[in-house]
């Protein structure tokens, strides 16, 4: 099955250490991960497990201390700004806090226009750009003509996060890293956001990596789950394997600590 899908990204021995000698902290400790086309992967870990640092390394925002990343078969080269830009046409991110993802001084149009420009659309006539932006907004059930020329503080949290998804629609990257995309959003909008992300995945065959601490979310949405603790992958596999039948002690304890409603939630194991 895996041979049919293309391998987009392979990371091996990925490590990130901060500081030297006595004060050295290893945030990510020799992590290996393969990402295939169209997969939905979840990296589950508590705060401090290193999952955000791993995400930033995969994105290319931080450089690894050790380890290699191969993108589409070739060693990833992001040494110059132009090469970084090329890489970022293929891998993008959605962040946890919709309020801090926007520059409060710029109108929201600039966010979408930046995406059009990144896909070499700078020379297009303005009407065509508006058409593209309207299409992107309607994909997430937002009306561009209502939002144009507005500032971020005039939108709600849910709208802002969905606009981020519209941005991804414009960019059409091969890999999307979603860092806790629903933790700061109301329960009612959560389903909408997850829906839209999956719709996007279906349309453009995008790989989605969820970085989360919510075991329930990982179970519901992913094809593959990685459990991360202290910078290492403790366990990995399909959601049924890892979450319903965990092998490692850490994973077992983690799953036990999540509140259940259909099964009896055992509180005695604290």
């Amino acid at each position: 099955m895996a041979d049919e899908k293309t391998l987009y990204l392979r990371a091996s021995g990925l490590t990130k250490a901060f500081g030297f000698g006595r004060w050295k902290t290893v945030a990510v400790d020799h992590v290996d991960i393969d990402l295939y086309e169209g997969e939905v992967v979840s990296i589950v870990g508590m705060s401090g497990s290193g999952k955000t640092t791993l995400a930033k390394m995969l994105l290319g925002l931080i450089g690894p201390t050790e380890g290699e990343i191969y993108f589409q078969g070739k060693k990833r080269d992001i040494s110059s700004r132009r090469k970084k830009k090329e890489y970022w046409k293929n891998i993008q991110a959605i962040f946890q806090d919709p309020f801090s993802s926007y520059n409060t001084f710029n109108k929201i149009d600039s966010v979408l226009l930046d995406c059009i420009h990144m896909r070499d659309g700078r020379k297009l006539p303005y009407a065509k750009k508006v058409e593209l932006m309207t299409e992107a907004c309607s994909f997430v059930n937002l009306k561009f003509e209502e939002l144009t020329n507005k500032y971020p503080f005039e939108l709600s949290g849910g709208q802002m996060q969905r606009l981020m998804i519209a941005r991804i629609f414009l960019l059409k990257p091969k890999i999307l890293l979603a860092d806790e995309p629903t933790s700061m959003v109301d329960a009612c909008s959560r389903a909408t956001i997850l829906d839209e992300l999956m719709k996007l995945r279906d349309e453009i065959g995008m790989t989605v990596i969820f970085i989360t601490h919510d075991v329930g979310l990982a179970y519901y949405v992913s094809d593959k789950v990685y459990i991360m603790e202290h910078g290492r992958f403790v366990e990995s596999g399909t959601p049924d394997e890892v979450i319903l039948h965990p092998k490692e002690t850490y994973t077992r304890r983690l799953i036990n600590d999540v509140p259940k409603i259909y099964e009896e939630w055992d509180l005695s194991t604290v």
Binding site: M46, G158, D186, A191, D195, G216, I255, V258, K260
Partner: protein, 335 residues
């Protein structure tokens, strides 16, 4: 028929904005808390659950103002009491309140035991330090906290430990009612579990007679409280036992909310999550009729006029909708 510890009748409180506008964050809310039972309050952010918790204490300060209604605790009506009297007689003794991120209330320059001494001496100046230490130590041990915590500074404790310490301190005077507002939302799952266990312990050990637990995480509510109340736009839209509300919700909003629960349990990967489009109404000018009508997929023109009251559904269950139980269950079956 057990003892009613806390009774609230048609409580209405408002915020007054900088421009002098009134926002009725809690609109004619009534509830009864029985001894030995706990109540969970669920709802989106902005529905008024935190304001309700604040209002229940009877301790109002601008911009929060009391408008009307009664709060009766152990027979005493505290809704019109002066803030000073409330502070001396009610807070900590009858009702204890733990706000969100309560662990930040711990003074970083004081040991826990000094903090507890302050708390005691504010209520009972006669107790000496030895007595206080003994009482604190006994209570802490009963609640599963090691006695060494008392000698530590807050910065030496983990987040989960701090939260549990604050909860333990707030019930030292054995209040009748404990109101906890999102006591575990800033913690990781393991610490969360410890906090939940402690809260259940409090009830089981009789430390507090009853508890109100506020959160937006429904699986937690189900595991902690006996009854659940769902709030929307400042009003109660449904109230019933935890089991009924989670597995057989009546009000369309409650149904939508329960339908958005994700738990890592067998068979749940194929369930479709319900999404509720739109946003809650602006409480400066709440709409006529049902406040949820604008987002409800079963709404009819009748839903948008007049005022909709809570209607009983047997066994102390109530919901706020013009449709009958059978009509709602039929509608849900067809999707």
């Amino acid at each position: 028929m057990s003892n009613v510890v806390l009774e609230v009748n048609e409580l209405t409180t408002k915020y007054v904005t900088r421009f002098g506008e009134d926002v009725y964050a809690v609109d004619h809310v009534s509830l009864k808390l029985e001894e030995g039972k706990s109540l969970g309050i669920a709802g989106e952010s902005g529905c008024g659950k935190s304001t309700l918790a604040l209002s229940l204490m009877g301790y109002y300060f601008p911009p929060l103002h009391y408008t009307s209604g009664e709060i009766i605790i152990n027979g005493t009506n505290i809704s019109k009491m002066s803030p000073d009297k409330v502070r001396k007689l009610i807070l900590g003794r009858e009702i204890a309140y733990i706000p969100q991120a309560a662990m930040n209330a711990l003074n970083p320059t004081q040991r826990i035991i000094n903090f507890i001494e302050d708390v005691f001496q504010a209520h009972d100046p006669n107790k000496n330090k030895k007595e206080i230490y003994e009482t604190a130590r006994k209570s802490f041990e009963l609640l599963g906290l090691p006695a060494e915590v008392l000698q530590k500074y807050p910065v030496e404790l983990s987040g989960g430990m701090k939260q549990r310490t604050v909860i333990a301190i707030s019930v030292l005077l054995h209040p009748k009612v404990l109101i906890a507002d999102e006591p575990s939302s800033a913690l990781d799952v393991t610490s969360q579990k410890m906090v939940i266990k402690m809260l259940r312990n409090l009830m089981e050990n009789g430390f507090v007679k009853s508890m109100i637990f506020i959160t937006h995480e429904l699986p937690l509510l189900y595991n902690v409280t006996d009854n659940i109340m769902v709030m929307y736009a400042g009003q109660i839209v449904e109230i019933g036992t935890a089991k009924e509300t989670v597995f057989d919700p009546l009000h369309p909003y409650a149904k939508g909310l329960m339908g958005s629960i994700i738990v890592p349990e067998e068979g749940l990967r194929d369930v479709k999550l319900t999404a509720i489009p739109g946003t809650p109404p602006n409480l400066k000018n709440p709409p006529d009729g049902c406040r949820f009508a604008a987002r409800c997929k079963y709404a009819l023109p009748q839903c948008k006029v007049g005022s909709i009251d809570l209607r009983p559904a047997g066994n102390g269950r109530f919901y706020r909708c013009i449709f009958s139980e059978q009509e709602l269950r039929e509608a849900y079956k067809h999707g």
